[in-house]
């Protein structure tokens, strides 16, 4: 597609429920990243996919967080048993394999856990 598409744009969920956030990267971008933006915070790296390589999960804050990328394209970030501190904007970005091209970000999913 023309840009990075994320869905839903907003999600309100009850504490303890599971949520899935979707990212559809730019066609041809082999690298895909998930970041979290909390109020007053910078962007917190969560996970990185590059082609068929094993993902870099070093930024996932707990084992309640997981992500997958199917067919080297669409990615899903899953948060199990959501907590109020998970409330944030979740941003997805994609890039060409060479990082010096920089990222293209989606508009994000605003997650609110009540």
């Amino acid at each position: 597609g023309a840009g990075v598409s994320q869905s839903p744009s907003n999600k309100v969920t009850e504490k303890g429920k599971d949520v899935e956030l979707r990212c559809d990267p730019i066609s041809g971008h082999t690298a895909l990243y998930w970041y979290r933006q909390s109020l007053g915070q910078g962007l917190e790296f969560l996970i990185y996919f590059q082609g068929n390589s094993a993902p870099d999960k070093s930024g996932l804050p707990s084992d309640r967080f997981s992500a997958e990328r199917t067919g080297g394209s669409v990615s899903t970030l899953t948060i199990q048993r959501t907590q109020q501190e998970d409330s944030a904007v979740y941003l997805c970005a994609s890039s060409l394999i060479a990082l010096n091209y920089g990222y293209t970000f989606g508009s994000g999913t605003r997650l609110t856990v009540v």
């Binding site: 990075v4 690298a31 990243y33 970041y35 007053g40 915070q41 910078g42 962007l43 790296f45 990185y48 590059q50 870099d56 070093s58 930024g59 941003l91 970005a93 990082l99 010096n100 920089g102 990222y103 293209t104 970000f105 989606g106 508009s107 994000g108």
Partner: protein, 114 residues
């Protein structure tokens, strides 16, 4: 380890005046450096990058940034601010020989006063 510091949470400048948004970084090797801008309710947009070569980099919307290796800085500048420049600005760094993900600063909110 990689890190980025944006020492000012908020910068206010009068329309027509020059603006500077500060960024310093820390990497073990040579850096790739980026600036992104986030307008209200929008995703992050790429502004400019330093990869190699000329230390003065020009980007979108009349912005520029100067890479200063001795001061490990990459300050964002614009000669004449516009009200429409009001947004949240993020500096980001990657070590060329390090992890593939970008490390972002906490952001600086720029307000241009008419």
């Amino acid at each position: 380890a990689q890190s980025v510091a944006q020492p000012e949470d908020q910068v206010n400048v009068a329309e027509g005046n020059p603006l500077t948004v500060k960024c310093t970084y820390s990497v073990s090797g040579n850096p790739y450096l980026f600036w992104y801008v986030q307008y209200p309710n929008r995703g992050l947009q790429f502004l400019l990058k330093y990869i190699t070569g000329d230390n003065l980099v020009k980007g979108s919307y009349g912005f520029e940034a100067e890479f200063n290796k001795s001061q490990t800085s990459f300050h964002l500048k614009k000669p004449s601010a516009l009200v429409s420049d009001s947004a949240l600005y993020f500096c980001a760094v990657r070590d060329r020989d390090g992890a593939n993900n970008l490390f972002f600063g906490t952001g600086t909110r720029l307000t241009v006063i008419p």
